[in-house]
């Protein structure tokens, strides 16, 4: 028998600190596979956010920086502007990108920075204990919306991808999910496309939003969490290539 699937070298062979069934591990692997398949480990610089993925540099074996909450797109800007030949990606959660860092992603997109943003949307703050995120669904119960989020009280879930689509500086925006084998494969294609765009020198920012499970703070089993993405999240966050097809 021959090995047809194994851990890709850029994904370090170590246990993660993520909860069982968390989507971060899958997303990390897709990025690592992309880097290896494109042969760009030697020219890639990754940016870890503040949030559950703050330790992403412990899992991805490329040059990496860990930055202040929400500021990854600004850091990426500083890197790419001074190193146009490097491949710069940021990996950000919904608190990091859509809440405290809303200004930075908006303006990096607005300027059309040639960077790749992987945006993990799990509709909740994981690291700090399951508080409401900008992307939290209406009626979703979190530590800070104990009776469920209401439009009147906390506003509607923020659709970042749709927002960024309106900016001339973004060239590729796709929303994917990790909710099934097929969706994971699709997410991989989207991530790879986003990296390829940057490699080709395309003028603008590409963002892949990934709907990702948080079984712990959704209070669901990992399998039910996957189902919940499809039954609930994709209704508010429809999947698809919102801008710049591949």
């Amino acid at each position: 028998m021959k090995t047809v699937f194994e851990r890709t070298p850029t994904l370090k062979d170590c246990p993660t600190h993520y909860c069982p069934g968390c989507g971060h591990g899958i997303a990390h692997r897709l990025i690592a596979e992309t880097i290896d398949e494109l042969g760009i480990r030697g020219r890639t610089i990754g940016i870890a956010p503040v949030g559950c993925a703050v330790l992403a540099y412990d899992y991805l074996d490329v040059d990496m920086i860990e930055v202040a909450h929400g500021r990854a797109p600004a850091v990426a800007t500083g890197m790419k502007r001074t190193n146009p030949d490097k491949i710069i990606f940021s990996y950000q959660g919904d608190g990091d990108l859509a809440s405290i860092g809303a200004g930075e992603i908006l303006h990096a997109g607005h300027r059309g920075e040639q960077i790749t943003v992987i945006f993990i949307n799990n509709a909740v703050f994981g690291m700090t204990g399951g508080q409401m995120a900008p992307t939290t669904m209406l009626e979703q119960v979190t530590a800070t919306t104990p009776k469920g989020r209401t439009a009147a009280g906390e506003g509607y879930p923020l659709q970042v991808a749709e927002l960024l689509v309106t900016l001339p500086g973004t060239i590729y925006v796709e929303r994917c999910a990790l909710s099934s084998v097929a969706q994971v494969r699709n997410t991989k294609k989207a991530i790879k496309h986003a990296f390829e765009l940057q490699l080709s020198g395309a003028q603008g920012l590409s963002l892949v939003e990934v709907l990702s499970p948080c079984p712990t703070y959704w209070r669901l089993s990992p399998a039910k969490a996957m189902e919940w993405i499809e039954s609930h999240m994709t209704k508010v966050f429809p999947l698809g290539q919102l801008k710049g097809g591949r």
């Binding site: 074996d61 920086i65 800007t77």
Partner: protein, 366 residues
């Protein structure tokens, strides 16, 4: 692209430049690869100058969407081994403090210029020295220091930019140049001349892509037990080394002085004139001017306080550096403060009168 340490504008010629433009040109001479900044008065000439000049030199200029973004762009560029800077004025520097703390934690070099204005809050746009505490105590959260220069002329402002970039790289930390609205706006003749440079270590830690080497990580998060304490101790040792090696301080006629006036920046120019006037009046006066505000010239001031004499500290604030002077004097001599906050600028006559009063009083028998 010009080589590091060069600029197409450098030379021996005396030119009339405002402080903001002079420091910008000096940064280009120092090999600044990238400038990121957000407009705020009274330092807008810096970004306008950089916008014109940096592309000419094949380097990066970018106006950011905020001070938060600017300092984080600096953070990103610095992590890749580039020489980089930002500039702002007091309220903007407050916004940058998060990033400055991260720079300190991640041991990244950067130069931050603060052209101070009146505060607190939005304050006014008049010159001030109200950010001394913020600058010399780190300014952001956590246990760190930044090297701080407090130049008092346009020439010195330009000169200390070259040194600031070198020290930032040498000690892998943020260095702040603390000017004020007067120094930024005023024009003086200067000579933009290359100065001797430090020997600097290679930036092996820089994020350049892990081609043929293990991964480099730039981070300020250390969760393991005792790991952060170890980093803090490493930083402390470095800070002690800086305190030992990098103090710059100017002093005049201190040895036989009955009164020593301490001031930095623009206030020191005024003090210098007032002391000269006092000496013409027969008063034995001297003055000390810290050029580095951190590391502070503790030894120099402590030594001056070994003889009984009055210390007068003059600032454009309600009294900030005076606390460092008191610590250095350590109770050995009386320390008197005179300050003009909120954009007020002390006059030569005010200081002269005070010197006269203080020296008279010390001679009056009780």
């Amino acid at each position: 692209m010009t080589e590091r340490g060069q600029s197409s504008r450098g030379g021996d010629k005396r030119v009339l430049m405002c402080g903001n433009e002079a420091l910008a040109e000096a940064a280009i001479m120092a090999g600044c690869d990238a400038y990121f900044g957000y407009p705020i008065t009274p330092q807008n000439e810096i970004s306008a100058y950089m916008a014109r000049r940096m592309p000419d030199e094949g380097r990066v200029f970018l106006q950011s969407e905020s001070e938060l973004a600017a300092i984080n762009m600096v953070f990103g560029a610095s992590a890749t081994g580039q020489r980089t800077m930002t500039s702002s004025s007091s309220p903007g520097i407050s916004l940058m403090q998060e990033g400055i703390s991260y720079l300190a934690g991640a041991e990244l070099p950067a130069v931050v210029v603060n052209v101070m204005r009146g505060g607190p809050g939005l304050g006014n746009i008049a010159p001030s020295q109200g950010d001394y505490f913020q600058a010399t105590r780190g300014g952001g959260h956590g246990d760190y220091r930044t090297i701080v220069f407090g130049p008092s002329s346009v020439q010195e402002l330009a000169d200390c930019m070259l040194l600031a970039f070198d020290l930032a790289d040498l000690y892998r930390m943020p260095v702040m140049v603390l000017a004020d609205g007067i120094l930024g706006q005023m024009m003086e003749p200067i000579v933009l001349k290359e100065k001797p440079r430090r020997d600097l270590p290679a930036k092996e830690w820089a994020l350049t892509g892990a081609e043929g080497r293990p991964q480099n990580i730039v981070r300020s998060l250390w969760l393991g037990e005792g790991v952060l304490e170890e980093l803090n101790c490493t930083l402390r040792d470095r800070y002690e080394q800086i305190q030992k090696n990098e103090v710059i301080c100017e002093q005049h006629d201190v040895d036989d002085a009955e009164i020593v006036v301490v001031a930095y920046g623009v206030a020191a120019r005024i003090v210098c004139a007032a002391v000269q006037k006092a000496k013409q009046d027969g008063i034995k006066a001297g003055w000390i001017r810290p050029v580095t505000l951190w590391p502070f010239p503790i030894e120099q001031i402590s030594k001056a306080a070994d003889e009984l004499r009055i210390f007068l500290v003059v600032e454009m604030s309600n009294g900030q550096m005076v606390e460092d002077v008191r610590l250095a004097v350590s109770g050995k001599a009386p320390v008197v403060f005179y300050g003009r906050p909120g954009g007020g600028v002390p006059t030569v006559d005010e200081i002269f009168e005070l010197i006269k009063q203080l020296t008279l009083r010390s001679k009056t028998p009780i």
